[in-house]
């Protein structure tokens, strides 16, 4: 009897702790949003500082960016299916969708790296002008976040495979989901503030 009470207590405490963690993670995301906000502002200030170098119009390829966007947003949808599978306790399904989210996210990072490489190869690297410094830093910060997200997805795949969908694992999956969707929102900001005006000007 006492043992049962203790487990009920522990379960309630676990729920409470997970809720604390989710709340704390939201606050972390807000502070990360401040980082992005300042990088966006810096980009806005420097977006015409070409220093006789190339402009966004000459460098950006909307088709490439569109494909990147599709990959990232589809990865987010795949993560939505991870959440559904986790809520229903379907381990194999959760693993499968985590794998899909990872592959799509990896595709995004590789496309971004290809874009960066091409730009650097034609002499439009981050050291070329203030505009390009701001561009590489803003987009690169997002890409770094996505890369860490990919590592996190791998860790969670291992945890789901080894531990199963325990309460702690599910609560970690929830926070990873918040992070992954947050990066979508930041990317939509990048698409609309960096690439679209760059191509249209």
């Amino acid at each position: 009897m006492e043992a049962m009470e203790l487990t009920a207590d522990t379960a309630a405490e676990q729920l409470e702790t997970d809720a604390d963690r989710a709340f704390g993670f939201w606050i972390y995301l807000m502070s990360d949003a401040v980082i992005f906000a300042l990088l966006f502002a810096t980009y806005a200030v420097m977006s015409r500082n070409y220093a006789d170098g190339p402009s966004g119009h000459a460098l950006f390829d909307l088709g490439h960016t569109f494909a990147e966007t599709l990959l990232l947003l589809c990865s987010s949808i795949a993560y939505g299916f991870v959440s559904l599978a986790a809520a229903r306790g379907r381990r194999a399904q959760a693993l499968l969708w985590l794998g899909v989210a990872f592959a799509l996210g990896l595709g995004f990072v590789l496309m971004e790296l290809a874009e960066f490489n091409a730009m650097i190869a034609q002499g439009a690297g981050p050291d070329r002008s203030g505009f390009l410094s701001a561009f590489f830093t803003l987009v690169g910060t997002h890409g770094t976040h996505v890369s860490f997200g990919l590592i996190w997805i791998l860790v969670m795949m291992a945890q789901v495979a080894v531990k199963g969908l325990t309460a702690s694992v599910r609560s970690r999956l929830l926070r990873l989901g918040l992070f992954w969707h947050f990066l979508d929102i930041m990317w939509i900001g990048i698409f609309s503030i960096v690439y679209l005006p760059g191509v249209l000007q």
Binding site: E13, S31, V34, A51, P126, R128, I151
Partner: protein, 680 residues
Amino acid sequence: MFDHWLGKLTIHVIPYDNPIIMSAAAFMALVILLVLGALTFYGKWTWLWKGWLTSLDHKKIGSMYVILAMVMLLRGFVDAAMMRTQQAMAAGADPGYLPPHHFDQIFSAHGTIMIVFMAMPFLTGLINVVVPQQIGARDVAFPFMNAVSLWLTLAGAALILLSLVVGTFSRAGWTGYPPYSELQYNPGVGVDYWILPLVISGVGTTMTGINFIVTILRKRAPGMTLMRMPLFTWSALCTSVLMVLAFPALTVVTVLLGLDRYAGMHFFTNGQGGNMMNYANLFWIWGHPEVYILILPAFGVFSEVIATFSGKRLFGYRMMVYAVAVIALLSFTVWLHHFFTMGAGANVNAVFGIATMLIAIPTGVKVFHWLFTMYRGRIRFTAPMLFSVGFIPLFAIGGMTGVVLAEPPADFMMHNSEFLVAHFHNMLIPGALFGYLAGYMYWFPKAFGFTLNDRWGKIAFWNWLIGFLLAFMPLYMLGFMGMPRRMEHYGNPAWQPYLVVAAVGAVFIGFGILSLIVQLVVSIRARQKNRDLSGDPWNGRTLEWATASPPPPYNFAVLPVVTDVDAFAAMKQAGTAWQRPARYEAIVLPRNSGLAFVMGGLAFACGFAVIWHIWWAATATALGALAAVITRAWRDEQEYTLSAAEVQRLGDARFADLENALAAAVGQSETTGNQPVPQV
């Protein structure tokens, strides 16, 4: 062939030809050796590792923060004393004793250390020790993350201290303004020694902010609504919000400057599309809220100390809460007043000038409420109370000079002068440091179980007060006389008498610091005599005084139920304080972890490697840190359970102490009057 393995690091970066630096280094080495020797001699290594370095107990983490702050206060003071001596000497033909490049490093280090590595750890330490107890919680929300914050802060502080011996520190001032801080004008490692510690400790501070927002909003005892929280907790909440929203700006601005320096980018360079004005904006978007991060916790301490030692509830509690919140909000609307002279235009300057003056309103509300709290109270002039009372008039003077500076036309005259130096020291010494020292003396018995010597506390106060007035009032006058800040040498002999007076002030402040050391030594020696058995040495009003001194790891065996502001005072009045629980329950506590310590060590090594361009080591330590995070994220069992019997044993010991305290209090209650009488 191993040259490139060590990046820019060679034996020649150690300034062995400079006697000042070498004697400082020798002194530091001696102190470290003495500490290590003492630990070995007394066989205390296990005690240190298990009891402190790996502890996730918020009270111990808080104490370690305060110890760091005290050490850095000493270092920062030595810098200050050197500057005062140099400026008192170096008029006209006399060059003084410090060469310019050394003087520039000293004022850069003084500002960085005092703000980021003295004041920040001090207030974070006080919040750590006190806030969970004030809200009736057993722990913070994220005890492990709390330890990581501490060790990241320590890693940053260690890097700054190391810059004294290995390489040089920044010469670009504590604000590090480009283009001077760019590679073109500062090709050495100095600015990097400024950037890396700020980035590393800034991450730690952001985590502290997150931790305490969650702790305060979600872990309060039953019945403690937001409007029943003690003022110190309110100020800690507002400070935490500011930390979370402002510190990312410091991270961004220092990283961007770092990208300019390391990757050849052009954020703030001359030419190539750089925009150095953007630096000023980003820096002060952090820098101004930072001022309130420093001052709000001190306001919280004053509110607690003044209410306790006046024997009264804080006057106008609700208005005090609103005032703190409004100050926190306004702190984000005034950053541009740090660079009115940048030329943003008259209308922009006017908006920020008016916003700045507005802050005087909630601050004035607070000053009057402290005065009204004392009005008709039974005031006990203990050392913490003296610091609080001394703060009020000095802070009013600082506030008035702040309103003067808030007017753009006046600021154009005073900008970059000694007037400004006097103003912000006037805000931060009485406004912040007096508060921390008051909090240190007020809560010391709670953390360590015995009270500090009050007489030496008072001597420290008078030295600080006189020293402050002598050191900084002449600087106001020098500002009016046109003396710019940061002068290594000057030609105007009319300035010298004032600078000599300021140097005398520094001597008094030195005595103030010495008195603090003496106070600590005297008190430790007399610790048996001054044991705080009741856990409530001041007849306190808030919940932290309901626990034992020092509290057990879980603070409260039974969570208190709160019915009013000043929960503990209400309990004492209703006769419900110190009630022996009917039965004790098992309590879950975080298990010790050495991983946070390891992470701090890796951050230190990584920072050092980046400063010296040792890329293999930077990569290896960064990967190590990632591995540490993943290791921690893998573990599910991070707690242990303290059995009900053990909790009972600690509880019984606590009540035995209380009975002794009662016996002692009956014997001497006539003389002290205001002492609490525990009813067991």
